[in-house]
Symmetry: C2
Subunit: 420 residues, 2 copies
């Protein structure tokens, strides 16, 4: 079976279709080249083109509509050339829904001793083998075009915390100059996204594993079903988002927002938060910055937060969020439930037959007891990490579903009417 | 929702229902208290009540009808009392299909320096914390009754390889005396299996995770679906299998078989193989021992082997096999395919878009490329272990399906008629 997409249509930019609002909050759909994403949305982190321990079909079942992958990590492994050769991240990881890549800026920022920032870009050493590398705005674009996510991010400098005002301003100015360079490079090279280049050919041939000379193998023969194809419309293009910086200074944040909007992007992110500042400061900066972002374009708050926080930020008007917390905490046995956070390693759960979260409908809570999950974790079983991650992701996604329902309930005649 | 099973029916012993034969080989069904198992069967190993990295619903989808769990490991973690309190392994791990536990004999045999064998039993130290323990035939029965598998194994001494004839005889005699003690204890205590004791009460209550005070939560409300119940007929009982030992001596093997049959069990295992002897010796001992085992009862060959070997042993007339090879090899990136064994870590697969095994229908081969699997393994991603294990198990199970089809094809009028 061979899929070919040869017809030409004009480019379709990413857009946000707002369907309901309630105060500052809004719900709607982000229309991407790889499907629609209900917003506000929490994006699970698949650092190396995999959400650790969770297969893509389970992510689909969880209702994940967009994933985040990390440019820095993918640049090191497997390298952009490999992903480009394979037709981009979607085809490489067999994920036909939307993907967003970060710019690598935050990751190299986190390398501390291993990096050096200049006007041109950032020299850094790989955390894997110490090999030297250089990321510039142009290079970050080149890589992200090769990876082929639906949404890609401008290369920014994540201002450290705390920072003096003059330092925060200098950093913001650098991010603005880099934003211009990112946009220029992207507009010249966006056609290089590898989506259209590869034609998927189903590879599953008839046959049977094992003893091939046995008489009755009919029941084992493959139906010739191809691996999942990733149909991408040729008119679709990547979208480059700008990033607002400015440290913890409301004035700088406003200026950063306005000047980034002047450059012009189809969506805007708030970066440089969750870098050690108090949560009250995070919230203040988010709230004040949101006022200066266009109401008809997607707003992405990077790298937050707890379930309570993502619900709060969504209620303030954020459309997109990502965080490693649900997946990383899961691998450490920390589970989010409607009754609060649970550390499943505790001995008190050793003979607890109840579901992890009695109010949760996820496949883990429907099937397994706390006692079993505690045993898996205490015994260092792989399945502990798998099941804990599935539950925490479900909990985060359910939290966002609840917020969306809450927003919709604000604009319909009777509460409780669901558009689900 | 509450399940109660109160009616009384007479005990139903485990039995093998042979449906077709071809030479020494046979195919049929093992009727167990927790469902029917098509034989010959390969039993995946779930050492600590989990097949490493694979959730129970995926095992069901793979068509796994019986799992093996390790008594030694479960005795140490979480401990038999916990499992007994939870109603046995089936309910503890939420697996309503059949389970077999080994006796712990092979595991303590493997401890080498940490064990001391006497007439009474085996003193050993835990590999986890060095704590002292003692396993006797009676203790092994007590533990296995508490764990509540469908098939449990007599506590035997696994004779080391190589062994002089007098040593192999002494070891065999010890195993025979232990077999008598196992049977006596089991017959007195089999009613203590915890299957009937617990009543499952569904715990999933209506509610929603996340922001509980939001207006529209209807779409999130649980349907009140209980976790999987494990319906066990009260008339069902565990089955205790005897184990044939005798080292690599055909005469001793014959004597061990005959005298174990004299004691009387509903099934017989061939133990003490795959302990370092040449494969030709393994095969010779298997073939000669099988001649002395009852043709109307299940025959279980413990701890083998490669896909080729399990197909060969099944063709010799073995009904049940288990081995850590598919799961352990998977975690080391060694994958069984119709084109031979593949080490997925090799750089040659870095840009290989083809399916792992083009002739395989498993969910991994249908969706992912060798390039992606290679990337996951090279990047030490959890998902590598999960996907590799799923594929290898599928391959083993498909190998057994092929053998069953081959046996059935020998006794029907036209080749290619499948009963699948």
């Amino acid at each position: 079976m061979i899929y070919l997409w040869l017809e030409y249509n004009p480019p379709v930019p990413l857009r946000l279709q707002i369907e309901a609002t309630r105060g500052s909050a809004r719900t709607g759909k982000l229309i991407t080249p790889h499907g629609e994403v209900e917003t506000p949305v929490f994006m699970p982190v698949g650092t190396l083109a995999s959400v650790k321990g969770v297969s893509q079909d389970v992510l689909e079942e969880l209702g994940v509509e967009i994933l985040l992958a990390n440019t820095y990590h993918l640049y090191l492994r497997p390298g952009v050339e490999t992903v480009r050769q394979m037709g981009g991240l979607h085809r490489f990881m067999s994920w036909e829904r939307a993907i967003l890549t970060d710019s690598g800026g935050f990751q190299v920022f986190s390398l501390n001793e291993l990096r050096k920032v200049s006007e041109e870009g950032v020299a850094f050493r790989s955390h894997l083998d110490g090999s030297p590398h250089f990321l510039s705005p142009e290079k970050a674009m080149e890589i992200q075009i090769g990876l082929g996510a639906d949404v890609i991010m401008a290369f920014d400098e994540c201002t450290e915390y705390p920072a003096e005002t003059h330092r925060a301003r200098a950093s913001m100015e650098l991010t603005l100059r880099w934003a211009e360079r990112c946009k220029s490079y992207f507009e010249e090279h966006r056609h290089e996204v590898p989506w259209g280049r590869k034609v998927h050919v189903g590879t599953a041939a008839p046959g049977c594993p094992g003893e091939r000379n046995l008489a009755d193998v009919a029941e084992l023969r493959s139906a010739g079903q191809p691996r999942v194809a990733v149909p991408t419309r040729p008119e679709a293009t990547q979208a480059l988002f700008g990033i607002v910086q400015g440290g913890m200074d409301r004035g700088l944040r406003r200026e950063s927002a306005e000047r980034t909007i002047d450059i012009g992007f189809p969506g805007y992110a708030i970066g440089g938060l969750s870098v050690g500042e108090p949560r009250a400061v995070t919230r203040e900066i988010v709230e004040s910055t949101l006022e200066h972002l266009p109401s008809n374009q997607p707003r992405y708050l990077m790298g937050v937060g707890t379930p309570e926080e993502i619900a709060q930020y969504a209620q303030l008007g954020v459309d997109m969020m990502d965080c490693v917390l649900p997946t990383r905490a899961a691998r450490h046995g920390l589970l989010f439930t409607s009754e609060g956070k649970i550390s499943i390693k505790q001995a008190r759960y050793a003979q607890d037959e109840s579901a992890l979260d009695p109010a949760c409908d996820c496949r883990v809570c429907r099937r397994y007891s706390r006692a079993y999950l505690r045993h898996l974790y205490a015994s260092n079983e792989l399945l502990a990490q798998v099941l804990n991650t599935v539950h925490n992701l479900y909990y985060y996604l359910a939290t966002m579903r609840t917020v969306r329902a809450w927003v919709r309930a604000g604009c319909v005649t009777a509460p409780g009417v669901s558009r689900a």
